[in-house]
Assembly symmetry: C3
Homo-oligomer: 315 residues x 3
């Protein structure tokens, strides 16, 4: 059995290629309305201690499309015996008795790791606080491959909050597997990428450039990965006001982006990408969200088959 | 593809008759436990920004009985990325990638219309603020047909809050298609039907009479459609106290109602119909709620078959 | 048709044996991944006016494993038309039109009884305030049978809050059917078992002993059933401090427990059983939680077959 806890467990080109190929297969089958039901009879528990309708729906839809069933809680943190003082470990021990896989969303970094230690069934980390959200990183990288047609030899700008952005940090690990990739790290001075990630890029031979100017970067890249710059991250409102407009992609800036570039965003977006950009064919963020469905189907399929409960015999 | 956004899109006797016939067929099949599963493999997303357990359960049960599956949120407004500032449009774009139909309940009038503009899949309006709740109107009209055995030549009293009552306004549109219908509009002076609806009735040749006396109306009608008179709607508690008792259907008033009349209510009722009325065979409001299941099955079946995702080939 | 409202309706050894045998069969089938789907086409409504993720998941998983489907509300009390003043009875009348069985969790004692009076479909009481939680009692007793291999001739200690502990009170009814059982009632003076339950034990010929010393009891019993001692139950913090440590099962106390004894707990546990106890093979509380799945499958199977909606013909 295996869990999905961290992006770093996928630093294997061959394994990634296998997952992405499976995602492709599921997408095609879905279009034809002819998905096999490999997880028939299996139950996925969605245990969300903090709400995330999008992520939850994406996993639930993936499970149902594979023929499985779902039990689900929108906001266990407000509700459940967590209030009475039950540990996460006890909750997981019990719920793993009622399900074949558990998707866990929790506010504490390391929660998924703790859950995996006591669970009888696979744990899938769907975000643990400032920690990891590995399936987001996988769908991001899958989107790059799908939109560009390659995972090597491309230039990517990562723009916005690189200091706290969980999705940025996870993507950097996957990016490090690309050959000939080049990263443009575009952030306000206060929100630069932490040293440890820059060291990691260096150690893996990925060239990177730091800047606080989005506009000048646009003509240089194949992928523009936008994230939000949140007011709360700044020491003062004045500091925020000074930089915020420079990190909004609007039609004017769009004109400077390469014709075959790809615009990505982990969503939700607020105003860091203007709505006028949505109709541009380079805007890939809604396709990116949809890709999440197929990547998650691939992952559920892999984990579901490995589940010790069936011994894999019928799969 | 089509959406269900407003009652006014159903102002077509032939189409209504088709929907109602389908509802009849599903009811009979349900009784025999032999419903076909035309929506097998389809997923309905229930996206409720404000909670409505009854309406949600009714749609979910309808979808499951048709062989489909459901992903659901009880109260997206409190929880989801709406809090982070995501627009309804973005949420719909994403969720329409995870589902084949979306039932939307939202607090803002026009929300369903906005959703439909960006959705890849059919949107069903399950109530948008003071706006529309078309499936309620359909089940109301279906109940009239089923209880009376006809949709023409009947007299209906609509009693209670005719000023704000969304269900009343929607029903008036459907009523306008009846031949020889007569409407008795019974409301406290402060809660009379807005002019636009009276004009509409006139333009469609439906006779109507206004009054504030429920008691005197009872002997005249085939259908009594009750709604709640809410204290908050009155300028003062004194004004409310003066009228409230006149709009409570109790056993005493019941005696004045025609022997073959039908009592309806959109529910929830509080005290505008006394519980002593429940056992009267004319009390149709719980049958009315149940009819909602079959009308919604009919609508889901129609929309599900039209969904572009399958091209309708297997249906 | 029958409802599950109270533990006392199961005071029949033969009926209990039938339920437990069915639970055994389902467990074995589940292990082989070969459960029949007797409830295919049936819908279970989980109507939780107060949240209980564990109990809800357990029922939902049971229903899905039997081939049925689920509609569910996590916290109807905060959300639904209950807020608008609808009675429980009206809610049940309506929801019983959308489902084949209803699992009800409510904060008011007697709620399940009231629901059963108006429901068209079986009601299962999943806890009504300080009232009953019969399926918990059944899974407790099932666990004793499974762990000890017998339901007669055993000694059980019930420790903790015997005054308010709903699970203790329910278990006492089932215990009264055992031949040669002996009960050790271990509680702080302020939280002793109410007279009515002691009278009941006496009337059924069950020997019992009262004490406030857990340590001295451990060597005498085959089953140790722990419950929480809540601070709020004490008149003063000082009174609580004086007794609380005596009711915590830790590794030291564990050494005094019989080698083949069984440790049970209705869960959630907070600190009344130290985590160091979890790895002891006598610690049966997580197995006990899992047993709940199979007992509930047995009960749903029985009720589902009796449901008047199908006339039982296909079952």
């Amino acid at each position: 059995m295996r869990h999905i806890l961290s992006t770093q467990q996928f630093l294997n080109r061959k394994e990634l290629a296998g997952i992405f190929k499976k995602a492709d297969v599921f997408e095609k089958a879905d279009r034809r309305g002819e998905i096999a039901k490999p997880l028939r009879g299996k139950i996925l528990a969605c245990l969300f201690y903090e709400p995330s309708t999008r992520t939850r729906f994406s996993f639930e839809s993936a499970m149902l499309k594979l023929g499985g069933q779902v039990i689900s809680t929108e906001s266990a943190g407000h509700f459940s015996s967590a209030i009475k003082g039950e540990t996460l470990e006890d909750s997981i021990r019990i719920i793993s008795g009622y399900s074949d896989m558990i998707v866990l969303r929790h506010h504490e970094p390391g929660a998924a790791e703790r859950a995996a230690r006591v669970s009888d069934v696979p744990i899938i980390n769907a975000g643990d606080g400032d920690g990891e959200h590995p399936t987001q990183a996988l769908l991001d990288f899958y989107t790059i491959q799908k939109e560009l047609g390659r995972v090597d030899n491309f230039k990517i700008a990562m723009a916005g909050d690189l200091l706290y952005g969980r999705t940025i940090h996870s993507l950097i690990y996957l990016l490090s597997m690309s050959r000939g990739a080049e990263a443009h790290l575009v952030a306000p001075p206060a929100l630069r990428l932490p040293e440890k990630y820059k060291d990691y890029l260096s150690s893996r031979g990925i060239n990177f450039f730091e800047s606080d100017n989005l506009e000048n970067t646009l003509a240089k890249v194949d992928v523009l990965y936008m994230t939000r710059v949140q007011k709360e991250r700044f020491a003062s409102a004045r500091l925020y006001e000074r930089v915020k407009d420079a990190f909004v992609l609007n039609k004017e800036l769009l004109a400077k982006l390469r014709q075959r570039a790809v615009i990505m965003h982990p969503l939700p977006r607020v105003n860091e990408i203007s709505q006028e950009v949505d109709s541009d064919k380079r805007a890939a963020y809604f396709r990116q969200a949809k890709n999440g469905l197929y990547v998650r189907m691939a992952l559920l399929d892999i984990l579901g088959k490995r589940s010790p409960k069936t011994g894999g015999k019928k799969l």
